[in-house]
Each structure stands twice: as structure tokens, then as C-alpha cells.
């Protein structure tokens, strides 16, 4: 640990020395399209990248729904595509744009895994220590399961006993006191503002890991929480297991080809992806926001 600290301090000093010359270097900008649930995390990682790489690189981060980002990427193609890097909330969108993968050193880049998400049943006002009540009353909210992976996970949970609601992505919501919201960000906002007594939110919105394990993030409203892990194991807010399971939420990304890129930008994008996936900073910030790495 001491060696690591010494190394990082040395890196900090050398990076600072590099900064003295940054005005002489043309800054390269990496343009990232990121699913809203990961926006805060990637902003921290991008800020920390300076200490790894030094100066001469900046970031433009567009936060939006995965669907909107995917549409913009497909509309732009490789000529006027808006992003160098796409960090999706699912696996489907990166796969759908994979024909636009960046060609780097003769290799077309493929989708890569960068985070696992999890869903938490939460409330700003009411204890949820027993998980989702049965019967469901008052109403709860989930993200639109036809568009949001987190909503699909919530729907899958509610389709299991004891609720067995028989929900589908094409159901006409509300169904059985289950309402939907456009995406996982708006779902969290609705629960946070107590528009609904409770709902299924992204774990990253209500959880932090300061280095000694995951805890409820008290700097926000939704502090009554009960996590449903994909495999039914113990989670945030409870030590027991749950009878319900769901397919793990896997968030993939992909480096994209576009005409605005210089070879230097391409090399930086690949370097940044490696930093995101393998550096202690990249792992620490993903863990800080309680993502699986």
C-alpha cells in the first residue's frame, strides 16, 4: 500500500510537471456518449485520467438515454458520428452500432463490458425493510421495461411470487398499481420527489462505497432501500436472500469510428478505455458508485 502511495504521488508530481507545458500541446478532445445512469461515474474517471495521462486531453460528455444515443450514432454513421466512445446501459445498443466500431491498428473494435448494474427498491418516505409489499399498495414506479434494462429487471422481479403480476414490455401501464417512468433517471427523480411512495431505482443512485463496503448514500432522499440482486443474494439494506432473480444488468461500451478523429484521438480513446477498465482509478470510481466491475 505504501509503495502504491509513493507511486501515485510520484505520478502526481510528474503529471503536474507535464502540465507546465500543456499550452504548447494541441489539446485532443474525446467525445463520449454515456447512458445517464453512468454519467457521474464517467465524469469522475475522465477528471482522474489527467493524473494518469497528463495534459493535452479534454472530454466532451453527452449524457442521454441509451436509445437517443444509439439513434444519434446510427444517424451520423462514420462520417458525422457524434461520439468517439459510447457507454451504453445495455448490451443491445453497442451490438447494434458495432458495424461503426473504430478501426484502430487495423482492428475493428468490438463491444466491451464496463459495468454491472443492480436494482434497488427504494423510498424517500417509507420503510422498505421487507422489500416490495404484497399486495402492492400504494403504487410503485419502475422504468419503462420496453426501453430500460433496469425497468426490465424490475418487471422480471414483479412477475415472480408472491406478486406474479404477469407484466410484459407491451403491457398498458399502470398495471396492478405498477406505474412506469421514461427511464431509470426519471424513475429515481419521481421516487426522490415522493411522486410515488416507492419504486425500483438504480443502485448507483442510492449507494456509495467509500472503501469499506457499500453503504446507503445519505446525500440524497431515497435512503430507505432494499436491493434485489440478480442472483437473489444479500444486498444493500438487507442481509437475507431474496427469492426473486433476474438476468444480470450488463452495461457495454464500444469505441466508434468517425471522420472527426485524428490518429492521436484514436490512440487516446483506446488508452482511455484501458484506463477505465484496468486502472485502479477506473475500478475505484466504478466501485465507489456501487457498480459491479
Amino acid at each position: 500500500m505504501f509503495d502504491l502511495t509513493r507511486k501515485t504521488l510520484a505520478l502526481g508530481v510528474s503529471a503536474t510537471c507535464l502540465l507546465l507545458h500543456t499550452s504548447e500541446v494541441r489539446a485532443e478532445t474525446i467525445s463520449i456518449g454515456v447512458a445517464a445512469n453512468f454519467a457521474a461515474t464517467i465524469q469522475d474517471i475522465a477528471d482522474a485520467y489527467f493524473w494518469y495521462h497528463g495534459g493535452g486531453v479534454s472530454f466532451s460528455i453527452t449524457s442521454d438515454s441509451t436509445g437517443n444515443l444509439r439513434s444519434a450514432i446510427l444517424a451520423g454513421g462514420t462520417t458525422s458520428g457524434p461520439y468517439d466512445l459510447f457507454l451504453s446501459a445495455d448490451t443491445a445498443a453497442p451490438a447494434a452500432v458495432s458495424t461503426l466500431g473504430m478501426v484502430y491498428s487495423g482492428v475493428t473494435q468490438s463491444p466491451f463490458f464496463y459495468a454491472n448494474g443492480s436494482v434497488v427498491f427504494g423510498s424517500a418516505t417509507t420503510s422498505v425493510s421487507g422489500g416490495v409489499p404484497n399486495p402492492i399498495s400504494p403504487a410503485l414506479v419502475i422504468a419503462d421495461p420496453s426501453k430500460a434494462p433496469y425497468g426490465f429487471a424490475a418487471m422480471t422481479i414483479l412477475n415472480q411470487a408472491p406478486w406474479s403480476l404477469g407484466l410484459s414490455t407491451t403491457s398498458s401501464y399502470p398495471v396492478s398499481n405498477v406505474y412506469t417512468s421514461a427511464n431509470i433517471g426519471t424513475t429515481y427523480a419521481a421516487v426522490s420527489a415522493a411522486t410515488y411512495a416507492y419504486g425500483f431505482v438504480a443502485k448507483s443512485a442510492v449507494c456509495r462505497n467509500y472503501g469499506s463496503g457499500e453503504t446507503v448514500y445519505t446525500g440524497q432522499n431515497v435512503t430507505n432501500v432494499y436491493e434485489y440482486k440478480y442472483d437473489g443474494s444479500a444486498g444493500l439494506g438487507h442481509a437475507g436472500t431474496t427469492a426473486q432473480t433476474y438476468p444480470q444488468i450488463v452495461q457495454n461500451g464500444i469505441a466508434l469510428q468517425r471522420s472527426a478523429q485524428t490518429p492521436t484521438t484514436q490512440a487516446l480513446v483506446i488508452d482511455f478505455i484501458n484506463y477505465l477498465l484496468t486502472s485502479s482509478d477506473g475500478i475505484s470510481y466504478r466501485t465507489f458508485y456501487c457498480y459491479g466491475t
Binding site: T8, D47, N68, A182, G185, A194, Y217, D281
Partner: protein, 288 residues
Amino acid sequence: MLKDRMKTLAAGLSMALALTCVDAQAATVNIKVAVASSFGKAANDLAAAFQAYYATFGLTYTVSLTIASAQSLESSIISAGASTPYDLLLSSSKKEPKDLVDNYPSLIVGTPFKYAKDFLALYSKSVDIHSGLPYPLTTNFLIPDPTTDVYGEAAAEVLSSAPWYINSATIPTGYVFTAPTVGSAFTGVDRGYYSYGFVAKSQICSLASDGTQTYPPGSYHHIYKPNDVDHPSDKLILKGIKIAHSRTADQETELSNFIAFLTGVADSNGNTTAIGTGVIEGHCFKSF
């Protein structure tokens, strides 16, 4: 503060009553907002809260956020001219909106408006600096680049005062090191590359559900308040400005409603909510 939270909750509950009126088939309207990095996380939460709030009125609003340094956002607005994609700039200071008004009036609409105020903070995860910057200096520490970052400018003003009297033109110097942005200054301290440094209060503080301000467990901080003799006046006021851009009538309404939501004033329907300003205060900014 708690009172504000209760207002927010009350507003939320009243919205729930309107849920049955939602038209699920409402057309989606989108605006694009350019956001300075220091407000990026708050803007992400704000956009979600905005969309959730108007969904209860049957309006399907979406907001695309592009987060970068205020200078680079201004540069891209200037270079794109009439083809800019942005409808709104939320800057990290007064500078960029004022520069656009003064030098590029055809690119903006209206006048700059205040939407948040931040505070300079000294932050450490390992050294007790709750009394403020030590004197004499014995440890390397970090500030954002005062020539390009408004928080760095504020930190340099503190350093130029007694008892340090460090001329800002000489920075970096001695124990004073710089990072290019307040974001990298924060991560430099947060990741332990430096023992402490000047950051934004909004980066280290959040509002707990009981209305108290919380900081990372085990960390130390000193906030330079407006009445602090060393505080650099009112530099850290964040301003925004509408960007001239072809918009549909629905987009124009969404934009006006977004600004109303952000600033806590009446929207196009005459409704006022404290949800937006509550989100801002949740990140320990002061709202207006």
C-alpha cells in the same frame, strides 16, 4: 433547508394526483443543453427531475446534456455559429455568457441569468485542514489552474492574501501545484496524489434527507464563506444564457420551462415548483 425539502415533497405529492391525466402518447420534445463540468452531476439529476415533473402533466420532455469545460463549450458555440446544436449554455461562471453577449450577440437570446452559486473549499482525505490553509506552508497542495478555471482564480485570490501573499502570476510555485480544472483538482486530492487542495464545495458536499450537509466519511474540509475575510467575493456565481438556435414552438416552451424549473420561477403554465432548486441545493449549490 428542511423546509425546502418538505416543500419539494409536497410538490411531489401534488403531482401524483395529476398522474391519471397523463397522456402516454404525447410527442417527445427534446432540447440540448451545454453544461460546464462543475455543474455536470447536478445537471444530470436536474434533467431527470425535470422530465419526471413534466411527465405528470402529460408532457414528454427529454434533455440531452453535453458536459465539458465552459471555455470549450463557448468555443464550440462560437465556431458552430447558426448551426450550433445547443439551446442553452449553463456556464461555471459569469464570464462565458457575458463574453457571448458582448462579442457574439447574434448567437444568444436574451440576457444571462443566475442559476446557482458555489463556494470554494479546501479538501483533504488525510490532513485536518478544517481551519483552512495552513501557515506556514509545509506540504505540496493543489489548486485548479487560476488562468483558466474560475475556482482556481478564487483559490489564487485566497493565496494572494495574508499571511501567504503568493502572487498569482507566479503560480505554480513552491508548495502550490496546479491541475487544469477543478474536476482534476478534486480527483488529484480524492485519489491521494496530493494531501489536500482547493476544490468546489459542490464536489464534496451533498444534502442529506434530514437537511444537513454531508461530506465523505473521514474527510476534512474548510469552506470559504462569503463573509470570510479571505473569501474571493462573488466569483463563483454560475450563469446561463439561451443560445440562438432554430427551435419549434414546443422546444421553445420546453426550454422556457427548463429555465423556470432550474430557477424556481413560474413556467409557461404559471406553475412553480421547488423541485429543481431542491436538486441544485442537494448538491450544496446555493440556488437563486
